[in-house]
C-alpha cells in the first residue's frame, strides 16, 4: 500500500488522540492502530518509519509505533 496514504491515515488518527485529555495519547494511538489496521499495514508503516522516512509522520505516531 502506498506509504503516503498510510502516513496520512496514521496522522489523522494521531490528530484526534492528540486532542484528547490525559497523558496516554500514544498508547491510545497504538491501541487504535492495533484494533483497526491489519498487521501488514502496521508493519509497512513501521518499516517506512524505521527506514528513516519519519519526516512527514506525526510525532505521536512515532511514539506509538514501538507499542504495537
Amino acid at each position: 500500500m502506498s506509504p503516503e496514504k498510510l502516513v496520512r491515515m496514521a496522522n489523522q488518527i494521531a490528530t484526534f488522540f492528540a486532542s484528547q485529555p490525559g497523558t496516554d495519547q500514544a498508547e491510545r494511538v497504538a491501541a487504535h492502530l492495533k484494533d483497526f489496521w491489519g498487521p501488514e499495514m502496521r508493519s509497512e508503516l513501521k518499516s517506512y518509519v524505521a527506514a528513516g522516512h519519519g519526516g512527514d509522520v506525526d510525532e505521536l505516531v512515532v511514539r506509538a509505533l514501538p507499542l504495537i
Partner: protein, 965 residues
C-alpha cells in the same frame, strides 16, 4: 414451521385507535370497554360488529360525510354517525334499528345512482367497499331516474345515447406509472385526500368544487398526478374504497387471492408489506398494517418498484470467463463454483491465506451476511471481510461505541411521536427514509419543533404545513465545529441537565469536557466564519434543543461521510448526554441507516475487526465461541477494509474477492482507483441480480435471488429484526444463502444448512444480543428489536434506559479539524452528494422500474449566483472536475444550495459522480469523505471522454456468448 402467514386480524376498524381511560358501553347488547375518545364505530368493531361505512377508514380521522354509518343511541335524538361520535360511559347503541337501516338504504341508493354498474369488468371487483356496502345494507333497487331535461346528470357516462358529450365526465388519469385515477368511479368520500394529508403529509390532493360538482384533484389546475406534488406513496390508493384509485398491476393481472407478509428490501426503515399474489404471480405489495416500523404506510419504492425482479436484464445462469476482456460464458452451477473455488485456492497457495476476502451485502439477509463473513473467517482463514457500511455508517459504529458502548440507534420509530424538538442533521428523510419522514411530519404538524442542520435547504425545511424553527446551512465539512458550538452554548449558558450527567456519566470527564467546549474558540460567534452559520441562529437552536422538552436527534450520511465523521457522531452523542435526552421515549440518537439491512450486516460481523455482535477479534474468549462452533482457528488480527483491499490489490498483495450484492465500482469513492484495484485481481466473483458495474471486472458471475425469493431476516435502523418470507421460487434456482454455502463446500467446507432458521439458531447461540431470537418467536410476535435475550425476551424498543451499555456515558472531546480537501483557485466550489426518493442507492433496482419517470438522470444543483459567474443556464451540460477526475452532467439552478456549494445524486452509472470524489476518509474508520469534494464547474458539450470510454468498456465487458446447444 409455518412459512406463510395470513394476518389474523387485518380488519378495517373504521377510525384510528385512541389512548385514554376505559369507557364501557353496550352495542347491540354486547358490552365493550374501549379507551376514551374512541368512536362508536371502532368500539363496535372491537365488539365484532361492523357498522356499514364508506368515508371512514382506520388510517385517517373520521370525516362524517357519507352518513352510511348512522346508528341509534338511546336517549339521543336523530341518527348520529358512528364514525364521528365518541363513546360515553353507559351508552346504549343499536346498529340495526329500523330507522337507521332506512337511512342507509337511501344513502346507498343515491351513491349507486351515480355509479357505472360495470362491476363484473371492474378492476376492484371483489375488492370494492361500495359493492360490499350495497350488499350489506340490502340495496335491491335504485329508484332515481334522470329528469328528461337533464339526462346526463351523472359522472360516469362519457356520452349520452345520442352521442352528446357529457361535461361532467372526465377521462382516466393514467399519468402515474403505477396507479390510475378514474373520476367516473369516485364517490367523493375524501379518504384519499385525508390519507395524503394525515398519513403521507404531502397535501397533493384536494376536493375541488361543491356538491354535485366536487372532485378529487391532484395539484393545481391543469395538473395530473404525475405533474402534481404527489410522491406516489400509495396511501390514497390504499384508502380508496372503490376502483377510482387503482394499482395498474391489479388492472392488468386481476385481484390477488393470497398474501405473504414480508419486509421491504430497499431502505433502512424496513417497512412490512403484504405481498399479494395469484399462485406465484405477484400482483401487488400492500403496506402491512401491523408492521411495527411502518404502521401501514409505505413509499413508492417498496410499494411499487418491485418490477426489477422480472426485468429482462436479470441474469439467471452462472457465467465465467478466463480474463475480463473475454465475453461471458454461461455454464452450470457446478462448473462456475469449481472454477471459482479452484482460482481462490490457487491464489491462496501462491500468495498466502490473506490474499483473498469477501464483501458482504447490506441488501441480503442477516443469515446470508453471517454466512459470507463465516466463509472468510472459517474457510479462507482470514478476517478480510467488509461491507458497504464502510462507506456509510461505520463512523456510527465507532462513535456510538466509544460514547454509549454500542453501535445502534437508541429508539424505535414510534418514539418520534413523543418528541418535542427534533434535530435532523445531514439527512434528508423525505427522500431517504420517506415513511419515517411521514411520521416525523405528522408529529411536527402536532406542534413539535424542528431544527435542520444541512448545507442544503432540504424539503423538510419548508413544505406543506411543516416549517423548521431553525435551519443551520453549514458549509460542507464543518459538522464538528457546529456540533461543538451547540455544546458550547448549552454548557456556557448552563442549559445542561446536571442531575442526569451526575447520575449517568462521569462527572470528572464532564468537567474536562465542559472546560474544553467553554473555550471561546468554540463559541458560535467565533465559528461563524468557518461554518457559515449565523451565531444567533445557532444559539437559538441550541437553546431550543436543550430546553424544549424531549429532544431527539436523527442523522444521516451527511454526518458520517466526512474525514471527521466519527468525531461528529461523538459530538452528537455528547449533546444527548449533556441534555439528558437519552433512555426514554421521545428522545435519543438515531442514525438513519441507508440500506435495508445495513444494521444487520454490521451486527453480523461484516467488519474485519469484529465478530458478530461487535466483539473484537483480538478477544480470545470471543474467538473461542466461534472456534468451538465452527471447528477452526480464527485469526486474532483484524483483516482488510474495502479501501485497504483495493490498495493491497494495486500493490499486488490481494488477488481474490467474493462480492455479494454490492457494486463497489459505482458506490465507492475514486472510481479510477477502485477499477485499478479490481483489474489487478485474478479472481473477482460477483454475486448479484444484474451485471452491475463491478461485474465488468469479474471472472465469475453468480446470479442472485431477490428478497421475494428467499427466507431470512432484515434488521432495520431501529434494530428491529423483521422476517423476510419466500413469496415465490428463486428464478435463478437458489436463494443467496444456498449459493454461498455451495461456494464454501466447493472450497472444502462441510456446511449443510437446509433452512435459514438453522443459521439464525447458530447466530443466537454465538451472539448474546441475539440470544433469544428464533423464527418461532418472530412468527409469534411479528418482530423484535435487539438486544433480545433472557433479560429482554421480547426485545428492547429503547436502549440505555437505566444505564449506558458501557456503564457510564462518556463525553468525548471533539476538536474541529478542517479536512485536507480545501477549495482553492482551481477548485473553488464544494460538491456534496445525496439521494432522491424514487431512486435507491446505485439504482441497480430502481433504474429497472418505472421509477425512472421521476429521475432519468443525475443532475447538478448549482446556486444561480455561481451559475451566472460561469454562464451556466438551466439544463446546460456542465463539466464537473476535481483533483481526482472529471465527469459531465446537466445543471439545474436552485437556491436550495448556498453559493459556493453544488450538489448531485449518484444513482446513475453514466454520471460517475464517484470519478470526482477523492480517497480522503474518516480518521477512525476510513469511511470515505463523500460529502466534501473541492470542484470546478464549467460549461461543456456533453459526456467526457472518460464517460464515453467507460461506457464502451462496460459494453464490451458485458458481452455474453450464446449458450452452446
Amino acid at each position: 414451521m409455518r412459512d406463510f402467514v395470513i394476518p389474523t386480524d387485518d380488519r378495517d376498524m373504521g377510525t384510528p385507535a385512541k389512548v385514554g381511560a376505559p369507557v364501557t358501553l353496550s352495542i347491540d347488547g354486547i358490552e365493550v370497554t374501549v379507551p376514551e375518545g374512541t368512536s362508536v364505530m371502532r368500539a363496535a368493531a372491537e365488539a365484532g360488529i361492523q357498522v356499514p361505512k364508506l368515508c371512514a377508514t382506520d388510517s385517517v380521522e373520521a370525516f362524517g360525510s357519507c352518513r352510511l354509518c348512522v346508528v341509534e343511541i338511546e336517549g339521543r335524538r336523530g341518527t348520529p354517525a358512528s364514525c364521528t361520535t365518541p363513546v360515553a360511559e353507559g351508552m346504549v347503541v343499536h346498529t340495526q334499528a329500523e330507522k337507521v337501516k332506512k337511512v342507509r338504504k337511501g344513502v346507498m341508493e343515491l351513491y349507486i345512482s351515480d355509479h357505472p354498474l360495470d362491476c363484473l369488468t371492474c378492476a376492484a371487483n371483489g375488492d370494492c367497499e361500495l359493492q360490499d356496502m350495497a350488499g350489506v345494507v340490502g340495496l335491491r333497487d335504485v329508484r332515481y331516474e334522470a329528469p328528461p331535461e337533464a339526462p346526463l346528470a351523472n359522472h360516469f357516462a362519457a356520452r349520452d345515447t345520442s352521442g352528446e358529450a357529457n361535461p361532467e365526465w372526465l377521462p382516466k388519469d393514467t399519468s402515474n406509472p403505477y396507479f390510475t385515477y378514474d373520476p367516473s368511479k369516485c364517490i367523493v368520500c375524501s379518504r384519499c385526500v385525508r390519507a395524503c394529508e394525515e398519513v403521507q403529509g404531502t397535501f397533493a390532493l384536494t376536493i375541488e368544487g361543491r356538491g354535485f360538482d366536487s372532485r378529487v384533484s391532484a395539484g393545481g389546475p391543469g395538473d395530473d398526478f404525475l405533474s402534481s406534488d404527489c410522491v406516489s406513496c400509495g396511501a390514497c390508493v390504499q384508502a380508496c374504497p372503490t376502483a377510482t384509485l387503482q394499482e395498474k398491476s391489479v388492472i392488468e393481472l386481476g385481484t390477488p387471492t393470497r398474501s405473504v407478509v414480508t419486509t421491504c428490501a430497499y431502505c433502512g426503515v424496513g417497512c412490512s408489506f403484504k405481498a399479494e399474489l395469484n399462485g406465484d404471480e405477484l400482483v401487488r405489495m400492500v403496506p402491512y398494517k401491523h408492521g411495527k416500523a411502518n404502521r401501514g404506510h409505505s413509499c413508492v419504492k417498496g410499494r411499487f418498484a418491485w418490477g426489477y425482479a422480472n426485468h429482462a436484464e436479470r441474469i439467471l445462469n452462472p457465467m465465467i470467463r478466463e480474463t475480463i476482456d473475454e465475453p461471458w460464458r454461461e455454464v452450470s452451477w457446478e462448473e462456475a463454483l469449481s472454477f471459482a473455488a479452484g482460482r481462490l485456492k490457487r491464489i491462496q497457495e501462491r500468495h498466502g491465506r490473506k490474499s483473498v476476502g469477501v464483501i458482504t451485502s447490506s441488501r441480503c439477509t442477516n443469515e446470508e451476511t453471517y454466512l459470507v463473513q463465516k466463509l472468510t473467517r472459517a474457510v479462507f482463514g482470514n478476517n478480510n471481510t467488509d461491507t458497504c457500511a464502510r462507506v456509510c455508517h461505520s463512523p456510527t459504529g465507532y462513535g456510538l461505541g466509544q460514547t454509549f458502548g454500542t453501535s445502534a440507534g437508541t429508539q424505535d420509530f414510534d418514539s418520534v411521536m413523543a418528541a418535542d424538538v427534533v434535530v435532523v442533521i445531514g439527512a434528508n428523510p423525505t427522500d431517504g427514509h420517506p415513511v419515517f419522514a411521514s411520521r416525523l411530519k405528522k408529529r411536527l404538524r402536532e406542534g413539535a419543533k424542528l431544527i435542520v442542520i444541512d448545507p442544503r435547504r432540504i424539503d423538510l425545511v419548508k413544505s406543506a404545513h411543516v416549517e423548521a424553527a431553525h435551519h443551520l446551512p453549514l458549509r460542507p465539512g464543518t459538522n464538528v465545529a457546529v456540533v461543538t458550538a451547540l455544546a458550547h452554548v448549552i454548557v456556557t449558558e448552563k442549559l445542561y441537565d446536571e442531575a442526569f450527567i451526575r447520575d449517568r456519566c462521569d462527572w470528572d470527564e464532564f468537567e474536562e469536557y465542559a472546560e474544553f467546549v467553554s473555550d471561546l474558540r468554540h463559541s458560535p460567534e467565533m465559528t461563524e466564519m468557518q461554518t457559515g452559520v449565523p451565531a444567533e441562529e445557532l444559539r437559538a437552536a441550541a437553546r431550543l434543543y436543550a430546553t424544549g422538552g424531549n429532544g431527539a436527534i436523527y442523522y444521516g450520511l451527511g454526518v458520517t461521510e466526512h474525514s471527521q465523521g466519527s468525531t461528529t457522531v461523538m459530538g452528537i452523542a455528547n449533546l444527548a448526554m449533556l441534555t439528558g435526552n437519552i433512555g426514554r421515549d421521545g428522545v435519543g440518537v438515531n442514525p438513519l441507516r441507508g440500506q435495508n439491512n445495513v444494521q444487520g450486516s454490521c451486527d453480523m460481523g461484516s467488519f474485519p475487526h469484529e465478530l458478530p455482535g461487535y466483539r473484537h477479534v483480538k478477544n480470545a474468549d470471543v474467538r473461542a465461541i466461534f472456534e468451538n462452533a465452527w471447528g477452526v482457528e480464527i485469526d486474532p488480527e483484524p483483516g482488510l477494509r474495502i479501501p485497504n483491499m483495493l490498495d493491497a490489490a494495486v500493490a499486488g498483495q490481494f488477488k481474490g474477492l467474493y462480492c455479494q450484492g454490492e457494486d463497489i465500482l459505482q458506490s465507492d469513492p475514486d472510481t479510477k482507483h477502485v477499477a485499478a484495484g479490481l483489474a489487478a485481481m485474478e479472481c473477482v466473483i460477483v454475486h448479484d441480480l444484474f451485471l452491475n458495474e463491478t461485474a465488468n471486472y469479474a471472472h465469475v458471475f453468480l446470479p442472485g435471488s431477490t428478497f421475494l425469493e428467499k427466507d431470512g431476516t432484515f434488521t432495520n435502523a431501529e434494530r428491529r429484526i423483521n422476517r423476510v418470507r419466500k413469496v415465490m421460487a428463486p428464478r435463478n434456482g437458489y436463494a443467496d444463502w444456498e449459493i454461498t454455502q455451495m461456494l464454501a463446500r466447493a472450497m472444502g467446507a462441510d456446511w449443510h444448512y437446509t433452512h435459514p432458521a438453522q443459521i439464525m439458531e447458530e447466530i443466537a447461540a454465538t451472539t448474546p444480543s441475539f440470544a433469544g431470537v428464533t423464527y418461532d418467536l418472530l412468527e409469534d410476535v411479528g418482530s423484535v428489536q435487539w438486544p433480545c435475550n433472557e433479560a429482554t425476551p421480547e426485545g428492547s424498543p429503547i436502549m440505555h434506559v437505566d444505564g449506558f451499555v458501557r456503564g457510564k456515558g462518556r463525553l468525548m472531546i471533539t476538536e474541529y479539524v478542517a479536512t485536507d480537501e480545501r477549495t482553492g483557485p482551481r477548485f473553488p466550489l464544494l460538491l456534496t452528494t445525496g439521494r432522491i426518493l424514487s431512486q435507491y442507492n446505485v439504482g441497480a433496482q430502481t433504474r429497472r422500474t418505472a421509477n425512472t419517470v421521476w429521475h432519468q438522470e443525475d443532475v447538478l444543483e448549482v446556486h444561480p449566483h455561481d451559475a451566472e459567474l460561469r454562464g451556466i443556464k438551466e439544463g446546460d451540460w456542465v463539466r464537473l472536475a476535481s483533483r481526482s477526475g472529471e465527469t459531465a452532467l446537466r445543471a439545474t439552478l436552485t437556491d436550495r444550495v448556498s453559493p459556493g456549494v453544488v450538489y448531485t445524486t449518484f444513482h446513475h452509472p453514466g454520471t460517475q459522480a464517484n470519478v470526482i470524489t477523492t480517497d480522503y476518509s474518516d480518521w477512525a474508520t476510513n469511511c470515505p469523505e463523500y460529502k466534501v469534494t473541492a470542484v470546478q464547474v464549467s460549461l461543456s458539450n456533453g459526456p467526457t471522454d472518460w464517460q464515453k470510454d467507460y461506457a464502451a468498456q462496460a459494453e464490451r465487458a458485458r458481452r455474453v456468448l450464446p449458450a452452446a446447444e
